[in-house]
């Protein structure tokens, strides 16, 4: 990468913004179809009632909350890569930082939809806002669900602003090399950025503060999400390990999604000279660490359930391994801990097919981890008479398809309309290396 010239960097990235081929639009149309399917299913649910889904007592939080936690988790690695690794001056994150940040914004958008969907009577969503009304009803800020409202809306706002700020110099590059309508749009979007010394001085400082603020925020957000569960007294949920466990899991799943997105992006847009194999290998190395932390958390949960001599807790965990949803536990252990440990082998870390396959495996496993936690806890809690099973219904499957389609639909639009790699940061890396 360091032998690239500034012009080559610009050209490589700007080539990705050329008029797309028909198959791109076919893919966009297919994903839009998925989005419409999900939207239609949601509309049907609003019209008929929340009962059209499979969630019911005791499992009141089904796939809607699983997908919520899944998407919030996916969002986290974007901030890890763009903010935390920026603070650590890890130069290898530069080629993938933009796409990872974008992934964060879109994933939080997808996550943010699920509380609305799960609400059923979505028109009453304003109850979550601190608005004065005639009954003097206010949100209860003692509730972890209200922590969630504050944390997720803060996260969406901060990550969107962080993403846009990072884009500014690159928007100017596109403006300076385009004409017609595109030039006019990018002229407005780039806010008149000229790369003048006073702009860089304040930009550098502002970006550093963004990174410094996003770092504790990202840790707090998934901790808050974990407290949705940990502050309840349900066995399998009521544990102090949840915050670090969720944060590590979130980063693990997010890094897997980064690989899932970057590998095709690198091939389709011919980014091989910029997103080098070393970059992907470093993501895989980080996943070894996060996978081990997640594995430690799985083990600690079992150890504490046994060591505490709490009969209810131990029964919950025994059932988790031997009950109706035992396959979920095995999926999560195999996919999130055992298979990613293959990354310890250098040849696996440097093999594109292996990297891609294992990223999909971890995505799958992390979804099941959330299933095991969210459904498993309440399906088999204190009293046997209240035990019950849950299976998603067609409406929930359609909404899930809709959310995945929405994520990839937005990402696909982004890739062809905005620079998917930060030209400025790559130039900076090249400049430092010389």
């Amino acid at each position: 990468m360091t032998d690239l010239t500034y012009a080559q960097i610009d050209q490589t990235v700007l080539n990705t913004l050329e008029r797309p081929r028909p198959r791109y639009w076919i893919l966009v149309a297919l994903l839009l179809g998925g989005v419409l399917l999900g939207a239609g299913a949601w509309a049907y649910q609003i019209f008929v009632g929340i009962g059209v889904g499979g969630q019911n007592i005791p499992v009141a939080w089904g796939t809607y909350l699983i997908n919520f936690v899944f998407w919030v988790g996916i969002a986290h690695s974007g901030t890890l890569i763009s903010a935390i690794l920026h603070l650590f001056r890890a130069g290898w994150r530069n080629p993938i930082a933009r796409a990872a940040e974008t992934m964060t914004v879109f994933a939080v958008c997808c996550a943010g939809l699920f509380p609305f969907i799960h609400l059923g009577r979505v028109w009453q969503v304003y109850y979550m806002l601190p608005l004065p009304n005639q009954r003097l009803l206010w949100p209860n800020f003692l509730s972890p669900l209200m922590f969630d409202v504050v944390a997720i809306s803060t996260y969406l706002t901060v990550s969107s602003l962080f993403w846009y700020t990072g884009l500014l110099p690159d928007l100017a590059v596109v403006r300076d090399r385009s004409s017609g309508v595109r030039h006019r749009i990018f002229r407005v979007l780039s806010l008149g950025w000229t790369g003048a010394h006073h702009q860089w001085l304040n930009y550098g400082r502002g970006y550093l503060f963004f990174a410094a603020l996003a770092t504790p925020l990202v840790i707090s957000v998934h901790s808050v999400v974990s407290w949705d569960f940990a502050l309840a007294i349900v066995p399998g949920w009521h544990t102090t390990i949840f915050a670090p466990y969720f944060v590590a899991g979130a980063i693990h799943s997010g890094l897997a999604m980064v690989l899932t997105l970057m590998i095709p992006l690198r091939r389709i847009f011919r980014y091989e000279a910029i997103i080098t194999l070393n970059v992907l290998e470093n993501v895989a190395k980080t996943m070894i660490l996060t996978g081990l932390i997640v594995g430690l958390a799985y083990g600690t949960e079992y150890f504490i359930a046994w060591y505490s001599h709490n009969a209810v807790e131990w029964e919950s965990f025994r059932w988790r391994a031997m009950g109706e949803y035992a396959y979920g536990l095995y999926f999560m252990v195999i996919c999130n801990v055992l298979l990613p440990s293959l990354f310890l082998v250098r040849a696996v870390r440097r093999s594109i097919p292996w990297l891609f396959a294992l990223s999909l495996v971890v995505n799958f496993g992390m979804w099941w981890e959330r299933f095991v936690i969210i459904v498993g806890g309440v399906a088999h809690d204190f009293a046997p008479h209240s035990w019950g099973l849950y299976a998603p219904r067609l409406v929930e499957y359609c909404i899930m398809v809709g959310s995945f389609s929405l994520f990839f639909f937005l990402f696909l639009l982004f890739c062809k309309h905005l620079p998917s790699v930060s030209m400025t940061e790559i130039k900076e890396t090249v400049n430092h290396a010389r």
Binding site: T154, T194, R205
Partner: protein
Amino acid sequence: MPAETCIMGLFKDEGKAVKAILELPAAGFSLRRAHSPIPSHKIMDALKLKKSRTGWFTLAGGIVGFFTGFALAIFTAVQWNLIVSGKPIVSLIPFFIVGFEFTILFSVFGNVIGLLVCARLPDYRGLEAYDPRCSGGHFGLLAACEAGREGELMDFFQKKGGEVKVFA
């Protein structure tokens, strides 16, 4: 006051641009702006710039956010004066989470405002004396000279290894 002309020297090499910045005052010209495709520490050092004041906006935002978050949580709890789960009406530990999130949110708002104010953005008029190559691979130095000294300034930039662009 004599009319001034702005002339930009465009350098492909960062080192040459830095050298030109250092020698420009001695030649009797004043530098208006230095444009670069990347944040250049060498240029920053040559210009002897003061530290950015963006951080003060960030800090102010954070302080406002911290108290706003706590105040909102306390105000709403006091309005609905019911003990929930045996916790006090004003429970500082859970309210700290609201205070923390608001601190971050308002700090970021302050940071964005500070960035826009200090970097003087949006600045569409700045594009009038700007060369698009500065966002690619060139370092552009915009200097002003009195009427009649345009030739001298152009010679200066050319001797330093730059191309010249004149703005009316």
